[in-house]
Amino acid sequence: MTGLYIHIPFCVHKCSYCDFVSYVCDQTVREEYVQSLICEIRMAGEIYRDRAINTVFLGGGTPCILLPAQTKRIMCALRDSFNICVDAEITVECNPGAVDSEKLNAYSECGINRLSFGLQSASDRLLKAISRIHTFSDFIQSIEHAKRAGFSNINADIMYGLPSQSISELAETISAVCEMRLAHVSAYSLIVEENTPLYSSLMCGSIALPDEDTEYEMHTLCQKKLESAGYRRYEISNYAKQDMECRHNLIYWNSDEYIGLGANAHSAVWERGVWTRYENFSSIGDYVSAVREGRLPIVRREHLWGYDAQAEYVMLGLRKTDGFLLSDFEDRFSEKFDTVFGERLERVEKSLYVKNERFYLTDRGLDLQNMILCELL
């Protein structure tokens, strides 16, 4: 399996909790970026022409900020340069209220078949508090447009542990989302990153986060409500209706190959038998000038083998509720999982993991994943 990730580093407005690479820019900069991106797509296509591409993900930032024509040009370039499978899952991230019928029809026309909406909350009060620019009714409207344009594979991101968020507000959000019968829901907990406005507000005490116990209650509430609505938790924060798992994200957790294009995009590929990671320039200026000079805009590369590669495989694989197949570990690394981790496994409580054909964590184990990884790796 190989995935393609395309980073669109633009937003209309930066949310207070966000520390992803994204900039507020005008149309001129965006067009210049799209041109460079298309150049990079062509260069990368030369290198990875032999790969069959199973998934494409346009992420950001806010990819739907691009004009329908720009998105089409990017998709055309991708199809020209890469061998994209007929049944590939092709996702674009959207902001509620930022996609109209015209845009959605254009997406459909160029083969995009999955939409991921950053809803975050059904409470307009909370949306405002984390400086999102949409309302819950924007979201309802966007979903209606999307369904009318023929999209059935739709995800909504929701967040819990927001400043001043109550359990009942979260419960209402989950219920509202469940009612819309979407294929997929991602429930993330708010992680306060340094260098964000949210972090500063928190430090100066102008806002407060729910305490540890409340946050945990929210976490279990998500699980309980989503599961009873027919979603299966297949990763720590991802829930899907049957067979509707996000294939692109599974590529990350399965330690399969992905090629990241655009500013700050990350790649992980097998090259000459070595697992290699690439990272692109994060500033648009550096990115554009590298591509203009005909160079791949790579700022860092890292080769991983031996124990490092194994540890990363375990770290990512254990995010899935099914964990990983012990045989897959052995196939990849020509070493038995037990030989490498057997001794360390004893440090982790038995009730936290299950080992059979697969190695995976129990529900309690998933909740304590960081601790387990610290003991194990």
């Binding site: 990730y5 993330y188 992905y258 995009a265 990350h266 990671r277 909740d367 790796l377």
Partner: protein, 600 residues
């Protein structure tokens, strides 16, 4: 050529913390052109970072200056700097033995403080001429008249003509220089007699090796001479002699009355002993100088490397510090909780804090410090008497007939408005009231006898906060007193944590046990399982708290293909875990051991 003894003045400065001792020294260095203004950094004599930050002088230092008096003669001044804090009485007394006079600085806004008085008595004991100076007259709240009255009433020396100065602005500092010439006696001693010198300090210099700071009493010393330590009988060849300007400057010789350093073929500082007398090996003097009373460590605690792999580094660093700090003692010990470390003895709590801070800063060590303890005396039923400085070594209760603890006499000087609250504090600390005298209308000296283990934690901080910083405090050991003491232990998830054990008075055990358990509950991070914290006396549990199990520790956030960020977070968590101490099944952060002290 020996300097004319009648033109030499050896003196020190006695002052309370913050009364301006180092500032006055700085002004004198400037006015005598000893240092160029451009070389001046504030408080030049305080070479250690900690000294500058805390505004106190820890190690004695010395500097030579030349001053031309109004009589036209050029005088050699040797200023020996002394520490001001109560913990460093030992350092003070060794500086005093090298001087003939002492400048007593009194802050015109504060008056005499308990420590000033203590150091002043030391100076009197050493037959020093005491010259009072009133400082900080530039401040609006200055009251020089009160300061003069206090000096005359409390210390009993005339102060009417004392220079009234501002060390900060330099106002009237010239008068101090004249006073030194006129008031400090010239050194006695015979330059033609056999060489005889007192070692008042030792330091280790990376280039020159072990250096002895000396006051030459008789004769002279120069390069190439063979000298003998009268304490050990060892002989050394002198490789260099010199003076402090304030950096080390070699000179041709040092003769009677002078202060300087001697560098000899001394391999380790352990070979030279502060208080020892040096003499000419070929023509020795008959009698050694009196030397000093060995300082007795009063407070003990365990110091452990945060990372067990740094045990040897810790040992080497302690050895280096002990070279010029004879009051620091240490010996290896093992703790179930903390592994291999050292039991260290200190003069007091400040001394302890400073040593651990120096270890961390100057030697770049990460340390775990355990609860400080005093030395208890145990009398067993079989008549055997033992002294213990670590609660872990307390014999079984069934063997103990009775226990005794050290009691000190404490002098507390305070404005009279705070007498009530301070008496309350002393009462809480099992203090026995001895006396109360008025120093002047508004200031009082309170005398109490207090068990030392009641003042080694936070007594000083409490005193300061209750008196808004105005009270000052000094203590000296009085005697061992039979006392009803018990050992308070703490169990984490059923395992005893030896590093947390303390010996406390029976009446306080219950409250202390509860307070520490509560505190531990806050400092121990939640772990995979619930952790009961129990306080116990003997086998009896007296308090219990619970650290709830962690419920969620997982990154429920999408970092997409950027695996490196998740990895970094995990690395950070692992790093934090490494810094934890495993006590049985429980991981304890290294600051947990000290934080239990900070209980209100």
């Amino acid at each position: 050529m020996a300097y004319d003894k009648s033109l030499i003045r050896n003196f020190c400065i006695i002052a309370h913390i913050d009364h301006g001792k180092s500032t006055l020294a700085d002004r004198m260095l400037e006015m005598t052109d000893t240092v160029e203004l451009r070389d001046m950094s504030d408080q030049l004599l305080d070479t250690m970072d900690i000294e500058k930050e805390r505004g106190i002088t820890i190690k004695a230092t010395a500097v030579r200056m030349f001053y031309t008096h109004k009589d036209g003669k050029r005088y050699m001044f040797n200023l020996i700097d002394t520490p001001g804090h109560v913990d460093f009485t030992y350092e003070v007394s060794r500086s005093l033995a090298a001087c003939e006079g002492a400048i007593l600085i009194v802050d015109a806004t504060q008056g005499i403080e308990a420590q000033t008085l203590a150091n002043c008595y030391l100076a009197v004991d050493n037959d020093l001429e005491i010259l009072p100076v009133i400082n900080k007259i530039d401040l609006p709240s200055a009251s020089p008249e009160n300061a003069i009255h206090e000096i005359e009433d409390v210390i009993g020396i005339p102060a009417e003509d004392a220079p009234q100065i501002s060390a900060k602005t330099g106002q009237n500092v010239q008068q101090v220089l004249s006073m030194i010439v006129e008031g400090v006696p010239a050194p006695k001693g015979d330059e033609n007699a056999p060489f005889k010198a007192l070692i008042f300090d030792c330091v280790y210099d990376n280039y020159k090796g072990a250096l002895s700071f000396v006051r030459v009493v008789d004769g002279s010393v120069k390069k190439g001479m063979t000298i003998k330590s009268m304490a050990t009988g060892n002989t050394f060849e002198v490789t260099e002699v010199g003076i402090f300007t304030p950096s080390l400057s070699p000179t041709s010789d040092l003769s009677a009355g002078e202060v300087g350093y001697i560098s000899a073929s001394i391999k380790s500082v352990a070979e030279t002993k502060v208080g020892d007398t040096l003499t000419d090996a070929d023509n020795p003097t008959k009698e050694p100088l009196p030397g000093y009373k060995q300082a007795m460590p009063m407070v003990f605690c365990g110091i452990y490397p945060a990372d067990g792999a740094h045990y040897d580094d810790l040992r080497e660093s302690l050895e280096k510090l002990a070279l010029n700090d004879a009051s620091l003692s240490f010996e290896p010990e093992t703790s179930v909780a903390l592994g291999f470390g050292f039991r260290c003895g200190f003069l007091g709590l400040l001394h302890m804090e400073i040593i651990s801070e120096r270890l961390e800063r100057e030697f770049d060590l990460d340390l775990v410090t355990t609860v400080p303890s005093v030395v208890y005396k145990i009398t067993k039923f079989d008549g055997e008497e033992i002294a213990i400085d670590n609660p872990t070594n307390l014999p079984s209760v069934t063997e103990i007939d009775y226990m005794s603890e050290p009691v000190v006499t404490a002098n507390i000087m305070t404005p009279k408005d705070y007498v009530g609250t301070i008496m309350e504090l002393c009462q809480e600390r099992r203090g026995v009231f001895i006396d109360m005298t008025y120093i002047e209308e508004t200031r009082v000296n309170l005398q109490y006898e207090i068990p030392l283990n009641e003042i080694i934690y936070d007594f000083f901080d409490q005193l300061k906060s209750r008196s808004r910083g105005y009270a000052s405090f000094d203590y000296e050991f009085k005697e061992y007193v039979r006392s009803d003491l018990v050992k308070l232990d703490f169990l984490l998830n059923g395992d005893m944590c030896d590093a947390l054990s303390t010996i406390v008075h029976k009446t306080k055990a219950y409250n202390k046990g509860r307070a520490v358990a509560e505190k531990l509950k806050d400092v121990i991070p939640r772990q995979q399982f619930e952790i009961p914290i129990q306080a116990a006396i003997g086998g009896k549990i007296i308090a219990r708290e619970t650290v709830k199990a962690v419920r969620k520790d997982v990154l429920a956030k999408c970092y997409g293909g950027d695996i490196t960020r998740k990895k970094k977070l995990l690395e950070k968590q692992k790093e934090g875990k490494k810094r934890m101490r495993q006590v049985g099944t429980v991981a304890l952060p290294s600051d947990a051991f000290m934080s239990v002290l900070r209980i209100n």
